[in-house]
């Protein structure tokens, strides 16, 4: 037996060597492209590459690179939409009609032109397929009103629409190609599998390979009609934050997206560290449904929590670059409250509020997701800090962490007595934050039913209908002031988004919607 297996081993080794040598002759061809490769490390939050269903940070990075939208933003400035596939837009005075003129000469990756029909199909598909981003176009009718004219009509004034259109979820797809692969403009759509492996867009990049849990490889689109991006290939890898740090420090990757404040301190000077307050607002909610809690429904309890939290301490925990959130609308957006209007800690005031509310040593349950991190910051230390803060006031907080999938259930169904969550802007317009009002998405999660707070709801309606920057700014500030005075939410902080890049990477801006536009990145 020994000799037989030895012979076999020798034969096998010989065969392998032969095979290797035999094909060695063809190995002279260089690696594909041979151009510049950019490696981005990030903790994946990725579900799909179908723009009509994309709503996760990693998916938005991919979507932004592969698809183009009608309008976009210039760099990190989200205060003014600028042309992309549409060369101009005009919002009617009543705020109900948005007319866009398509740019000439834009082409998809297969060379065919981007037409008004593609736009109509793409946008109606997003709306009627009812994927996660469909709400962006709720109540919006899309029509082709000329060879290259698109008209978007809303029932109610919709001044936010130009700020919504840059969302990569509203990327324009090649309708002919997509329909061949099962795309329909309703819930029966079957094109996702195709779009997960191929790109039907007009963006600067195409999908080379797409894998939900390990990596996405983008290659530059040879038919792109605009300026060629600096990197021929972009590899987006799913990497743990701790490993991201080491990879970027050693040059194994060029961009690390998910480092916490602690992790970016003491980076060598050869690397660039960008610390920007993110647009994510972490907040506490106190349920207003008396079936859920007798304690949190007491307005004095909410006041006590608002005064009991040590905001400066939370900022310290979140690291440099973080800021306190004075209201639910983050600082980058129109209508954000000035920083000095943020709540301040007042332990005596908090105790007084508890006493006034007739509450002595109340106990509440605080639920939060365990493994979720926002900009590298996890909820666990925040929750523990809040627990300690409120202990000093006389509130006992019973921490109830749960995995995201379970915690989300309770949160979305409005079953949490208290919750610690965050809200990132769906689109950089304050109207997105009307979701915090009674009867709206986030409001309901806090058990806040329609009609529960008439005054705030009226202020919200006024803000929704306000046209013109100044009027809107004022109206949204009013909504937040009222929310802070008597709403069930306690806005806490906007953690810092820390992005570390190699010294050779230029042009990186943190973007509140799509984090990074890879096509904007350059090489020094």
């Amino acid at each position: 037996m020994a000799t037989r297996s030895q012979t076999a081993a020798v034969l096998l080794a010989g065969a392998l060597t032969l095979a290797a040598c035999g094909s060695g002759g063809t190995s002279r061809t260089p690696a594909s492209g041979g151009g510049k490769t950019l490696v981005i490390d990030t903790s994946f939050d990725l579900k799909t590459a179908d723009p009509g269903r994309t709503y996760e940070p990693t998916g938005l990075i991919v979507g932004k690179a592969v698809y183009e939208t009608l309008l976009t933003f210039d760099g990190a400035d989200v205060t003014e939409p600028v042309p992309a596939l549409a060369e101009s837009y005009e919002l009617a005075e009543d705020g109900k009609t948005l007319t866009l003129q398509l740019k000439q000469g834009a082409t998809f990756a297969d060379g065919s032109p981007v037409t008004a029909d593609d736009v109509v199909f793409s946008l109606t598909r997003v709306r009627d397929m009812k994927g996660t981003p469909s709400f962006l176009l709720d109540g919006v009718e899309v029509a082709k009103t000329g060879d290259s004219t698109i008209t978007l009509t809303s029932e109610a004034p919709n001044p936010a629409l130009p700020y919504i259109l840059p969302n990569p979820a509203l990327g324009i797809i090649n309708s002919k190609v997509a329909k061949q692969h099962g795309a329909t403009a309703d819930a029966q759509d079957k094109a996702e599998q195709y779009l997960n492996a191929n790109s039907a867009g007009s963006g600067p990049y195409q999908i080379e390979s797409f894998n939900l849990s390990s990596q996405v490889v983008l290659k530059s689109n040879p038919k792109y009609y605009g300026a060629k991006p600096a990197y021929d290939k972009v590899v987006i890898r799913n990497v743990e934050a701790a490993t991201q740090k080491l990879n970027v420090q050693r040059g194994d990757s060029q961009v690390a997206l998910n480092l916490s404040g602690d992790q970016v301190t003491g980076m060598p000077p050869t690397l660039q560290v960008k610390k920007t307050a993110s647009a994510n607002v972490i907040f506490l909610l106190a349920n207003q449904d008396s079936a859920i809690s007798r304690t949190t429904t007491n307005p004095k309890f909410v006041e006590a929590v608002r005064k009991g939290v040590d905001y400066a301490g939370l900022l310290e925990l979140a690291g440099e670059g973080s800021t306190q959130a004075p209201g639910v609308i983050p600082s980058q957006l129109l209508g954000a409250l000035p920083a000095d209007q943020g709540a301040k800690r007042d332990v005596a005031g908090a105790k007084a509020a508890l006493a006034a509310g007739g509450l002595s040593n109340p106990t509440v349950k605080l639920e939060y997701p365990t493994e979720l991190t926002v900009n590298g910051l996890s909820f666990q230390p925040l929750a523990e800090r809040i627990q300690a803060n409120l202990k000093e006031v006389g509130i006992t907080v019973d921490l109830q962490p749960a995995p995201v999938s379970t915690a989300l259930d309770n949160y979305r169904n409005g079953k949490e007595e208290m919750g610690l969550w965050y809200w990132g802007p769906d689109y950089p317009d304050p109207s997105d934050y009307l979701a915090f009002l009674p009867g709206k998405t986030v409001g309901l999660r806090a058990g806040w039913k329609p009609g529960a707070a008439k005054e705030i709801e009226e202020a919200g309606e006024k803000a929704a209908a306000a046209i013109g920057d100044d009027a809107r700014k004022e109206a949204f500030a009013d909504v937040q002031t009222k929310l802070n005075a008597s709403g069930p939410f306690i806005p806490l902080i906007q953690p810092s988004q820390n992005i570390v890049t190699a010294g050779s990477v230029t042009g990186l801006d943190y973007h509140p919607v799509w984090t990074v536009d890879v096509a904007d990145l350059g090489v020094k």
């Binding site: 037996m1 690696a31 994946f44 579900k47 997960n196 939900l212 849990s213 990596q215 999938s405």
Partner: protein, 355 residues
């Protein structure tokens, strides 16, 4: 069959039959066990709190009962649980593991993409731990109570007691970052791309394509994660090999062999190791099973695109068909390892053969 070393009496040809019968019996048992695994994975995944509908559909779609109903029907979730199980089983028999709710691809197709990466990693770890574990154990036994023995005892204790994820982090930090000896995350340098998939094993595919650059990068990427993964098994095997070898060394027949002047190498390989192999294989089989659970952690730290990452992603998104697929694969791997171990017993130890 190791006929040559066996007692002189020539064995009749039918000797192969008991082994064949043994194999068939074991295979049938394995099928039965596999069925048990499907039942357990199905029940467990369905006991998990949390609704896959909420995890997979967007807010708007959730608000529309028609879409929710359609989604449930599409994934067979509208039927009673026992019926779902029967459908699941029926699919399995036809090689259909269902469709992943996340990737919208057949789970089998997903697994085919991830399993080779894990196989490559675990295979390398198994190889390393067998070679090093047995060698260390023999050295420790032969140099009993001397420096090599003490040093190896420390090593095996560390290997057994240090948690894998911590070891992975430290190893990555030390070898990749501090010493700059090993490459970073993933299976191969991102800039190189990967060889056209044939076997799914990056090193083999690179060789098949004659891409030495990819081969050396892939082999380099294997070193640290495989060693980290292997360390536990190395520790375990060192300990067991040492005691097994020590026990055999004290036997009369070994003493007799020595007395008649057989060379040390012959005694070691023909007499000692052969007898010591039985307990070693038992332990190795069990340890390799546990390698699979280790890969989940190691893959996370080294960004290794294997079944561990897939399992984690699927579990956190309540992608039940995918979770069941992973459970089945892991269960089947255990079964196969057990089967191999049982067959090896028969090969090594003639007494086991006829049972």
């Amino acid at each position: 069959m190791p006929d040559k070393e066996d007692p002189p009496a020539p064995r009749p040809r039918r000797v192969a039959h008991p082994l064949a019968r043994f194999l068939i019996r074991r295979l049938l048992l394995a099928v039965l066990m596999a069925w048990g695994i499907t039942l357990v994975t199905f029940v467990l995944t369905n006991l998990v709190p949390g609704d896959p509908v909420a995890a997979n559909l967007g807010q708007r779609a959730l608000g529309d009962p028609a879409i929710v109903a359609q989604w449930r029907a599409e994934h067979g979730l509208d039927k009673p649980l026992w019926q779902q199980y029967l459908i699941h089983l029926q699919g399995l028999v036809q090689g259909d593991l269902g469709t992943s709710q996340q990737s919208h691809r057949p789970v089998a197709q997903d697994l085919a993409e991830y399993v080779p990466a894990t196989l490559e990693l675990a295979g390398a770890a198994i190889l390393v731990s067998l070679v090093l574990g047995v060698a260390f154990g023999v050295v420790a036994a032969l140099r009993r109570d001397r420096l090599p023995d003490h040093a190896l005892r420390v090593l095996s204790l560390v290997g057994i007691s240090v948690p894998t994820f911590w070891l992975a982090l430290v190893a990555f930090y030390v070898f990749f970052y501090r010493l700059q000896l090993t490459p970073g995350s993933g299976r191969v340098d991102a800039a190189l791309g990967s060889a056209p998939p044939v076997t799914g094993l990056q090193t083999v595919d690179a060789l098949l394509a004659g891409r030495w650059d990819i081969f050396s990068s892939a082999a380099g990427h294997l070193v640290t994660p495989a060693l980290v993964l292997a360390l536990y098994t190395i520790g375990l095997l060192t300990r067991f090999t040492r005691s097994a070898v020590l026990e055999v060394l004290g036997q009369d027949y070994v003493r007799a062999a020595r007395a008649k002047g057989l060379p040390g190498r012959t005694i070691l390989f023909r007499y000692v190791l052969r007898s010591a192999l039985v307990p070693i294989i038992t332990v190795a089989g069990l340890a390799f099973g546990s390698l699979l659970s280790g890969t989940v952690l190691v893959e996370a730290i080294f960004a290794w695109p294997g079944i561990g990452q897939y399992a984690y992603k699927s579990a956190t998104t309540l992608d039940l068909p995918a979770v069941m697929g992973v459970g089945l694969v892991v269960g089947v791997v255990y079964l196969v390892i057990n089967l191999i171990v049982d067959v090896l017993y028969g090969v090594i130890d003639p007494r086991v053969r006829l049972q």
